[in-house]
Symmetry: C3
Subunit: 210 residues, 3 copies
C-alpha cells in the first residue's frame, strides 16, 4: 500500500462518513444509509469515468473503494453519536480526500488524452463534488456545495496547478503538489470561514435603507 | 415471443404503471406522466448500459420497452381510479419484473466480461432500483427504496445466486433460478412486511425511558 | 462564425440566463449560480453524448459553450433586476435555441448510425429538456417541463420532420427546416398559452357535482 493509496483511502472514509451521517439524520433504513455513503464516496469518480468514456468505471473494476465505504458505513452506524464530537477531524480528512481525488482525476484526464486546461479542471471538479451533489439530491436538499463555503474552488485551483506543473515536474511530484495546494487551501477555507457572496435579494437592512 | 420476454414485459408494465400513477398523483401533465412512466420502466436499464459502457443503451436499439411503457401510460390515464383496487396485483407484477431484470442484467454483465461477484451484483441492483430512484428524485421524494421495505436486497441475493450458479448451470436454467429466487423473496417481503431497521434518533418511547 | 453557430449561441445564452436567474432566486452562492447556468445550457448535450456513447462529450472537446455560459452568468449577476423586464425576449431566444439544438442533436444521432425515427426523436428530446430537468432537480423543484406548457412536444415534432426530410433534402436545408418548425411551434405555444391537460384528481367543482 503506497502513501498515495493511504491519502485516497482517507478521503473515501471521510466522504463515506459524511454520506452515512446524512442518511442516518434523514432516517433512511440501513440499505439507504449504505447507498448514500457509497454514492458520496464513489459517485464523483463514477460520474467522471462515465463522462470521459472510461467504462466500466475504475471503482467497478477494483471495488476497494466500495468495500471501504461499506465497512465505514457499518462503523458509523454504531458510533454516529460519538462521531458528532469529531466533526473537525472529519473535515480535515475530507480536505485530504479532496486533495487526493483532485490530483488522481486530473492525472486520469491527461492519461486519456484530454489534455487541455479546461477539461482537466472540469474533470477534477466533477470528481470532487459529484458525489456530494448526488447525496444531497437523494435526500431532497439543494446541494451544499452550491450554497455555502468555498469547496469546489479549491479543486479548481489544484487542478490548474496540476495542469501547468506538467511542464516542469514528473508524475509523483505533480500529484503531491496538486494534493498539497488543494488540501491546504481547503483547510484555510474551513479555518477562516471563507464564503462566496450570495447575489440578489437585498438583506432586510439594505431593504430598509432603500 | 419467448416465455422470458413475457416475464420482462410484465415487469416493464408494472414499473410503468407505478411511474404513471406517481405522475398522476403529483399532478404532472400528460407529457410528464409519460416521461415518469418511461423513466421508471427503462431508466434502470439505461443507467446500467451507460455505466458498463454498453452504448447506445439496449432500449434505444430495440425500443420495444419504450413502446410498452407508452401504451401502458395511455391505459393508466384512463383507468387509474380503477387500478387503485388492484395494488396487490401490481406488486406481484412488479416482483416478477424485478426477478426478470435481475437475471437479464446479471447475464449482461457477465457477457461484457464483467465477471466478478461484486460487479454482477452492483449492475443488477442499479438496473433494479435505478428507475424508481430517478422517478422519486423527479417528483421531489426521498427515494422509496432507501426508506421502506426490503427491495434491493432481493436483487442482491438473486444476483449472488446467478453468479455462483454459472459454475453448475447453463444459460436458461441460470436465468430462471435467479428469477425465481428474486421474485419469491420479494413476494415474501411484501407478504410478511419485512423492513430494514432505521438507525438513529431514538423513538419517543425510548427517549422517555432514558 | 456561421449562421448556424449564431443560432446555437443564442440558445446557449438563453438557457444559461434561465439557469443563472433560477440560481439567484434560490439564493445560491456565485459558484452555485455558475454551475446551474452551465448545467442548464450544456447539461442536455452532455447527457445526450453520454447516452449515445459519444464520449468525452462534444462540449468538453470544444468548450465554447461552457465559456459562453460563464460569461453569460457574470453578465446576469450584474443585470438580473433589469432582465426581469425582458422575459418575453428571453423566451424567444430560448425558442431559437431549442430549434437549433433539436436539429443539431437529430443530425448527430444520424451521424452516429442511430438512424431510426424513435432514437432520433428521443435523442433530440433528451438534449432539449435534459439541462432544464437537471436544473430543476438541483434546486428541489419538480421539473417545469413535466408540469406546464408544451415544450418537449415541439422538439418531438421538429425531430420527426428532420427524420423524414432526410429522404428529400440535403444537410443544411434539413437543419434549417427542423429549426424553423421547432422554433415557430414553440413560439405559438408561448403566444397562445397551449398547455397539456393534467389528469386525475377532479377539481373542486367536479367533486362537488359528484
Amino acid at each position: 500500500m503506497t502513501t498515495w493509496s493511504i491519502l485516497e483511502f482517507t478521503g473515501v472514509i471521510a466522504f463515506a462518513v459524511a454520506g452515512a451521517l446524512t442518511g442516518i439524520q434523514k432516517k433512511l433504513d440501513i440499505f439507504g444509509v449504505l447507498v448514500l455513503a457509497m454514492t458520496t464516496a464513489v459517485g464523483g469518480g463514477i460520474l467522471r469515468d462515465v463522462i470521459i468514456g472510461n467504462t466500466p468505471p475504475l471503482t467497478f473494476r477494483d471495488p476497494t473503494f466500495f468495500m471501504i465505504s461499506a465497512v465505514t458505513t457499518i462503523v458509523v452506524c454504531f458510533t454516529y453519536r460519538w462521531l458528532e464530537k469529531y466533526k473537525n477531524m472529519i473535515q480535515i480528512f475530507d480536505a485530504i480526500g479532496l486533495g487526493a481525488f483532485t490530483a488522481t482525476s486530473a492525472n486520469l484526464a491527461i492519461q486519456h488524452n484530454l489534455n487541455t486546461l479546461f477539461i482537466v479542471t472540469t474533470v477534477a471538479v466533477i470528481t470532487g463534488i459529484g458525489g456530494s451533489i448526488m447525496r444531497d439530491v437523494f435526500v431532497k436538499e439543494i446541494p451544499y456545495v452550491f450554497r455555502q463555503e468555498i469547496y469546489a474552488i479549491t479543486t479548481i485551483v489544484g487542478a490548474i496547478c496540476f495542469y501547468y506543473s506538467q511542464f516542469y515536474l514528473t508524475g509523483a511530484a505533480q500529484l503531491y503538489l496538486c494534493f498539497c495546494i488543494t488540501t491546504v487551501l481547503r483547510l484555510c477555507c474551513i479555518k477562516y470561514q471563507w464564503n462566496f457572496p450570495v447575489i440578489g435579494i437585498p438583506s432586510k437592512d439594505q431593504a430598509a435603507k432603500e
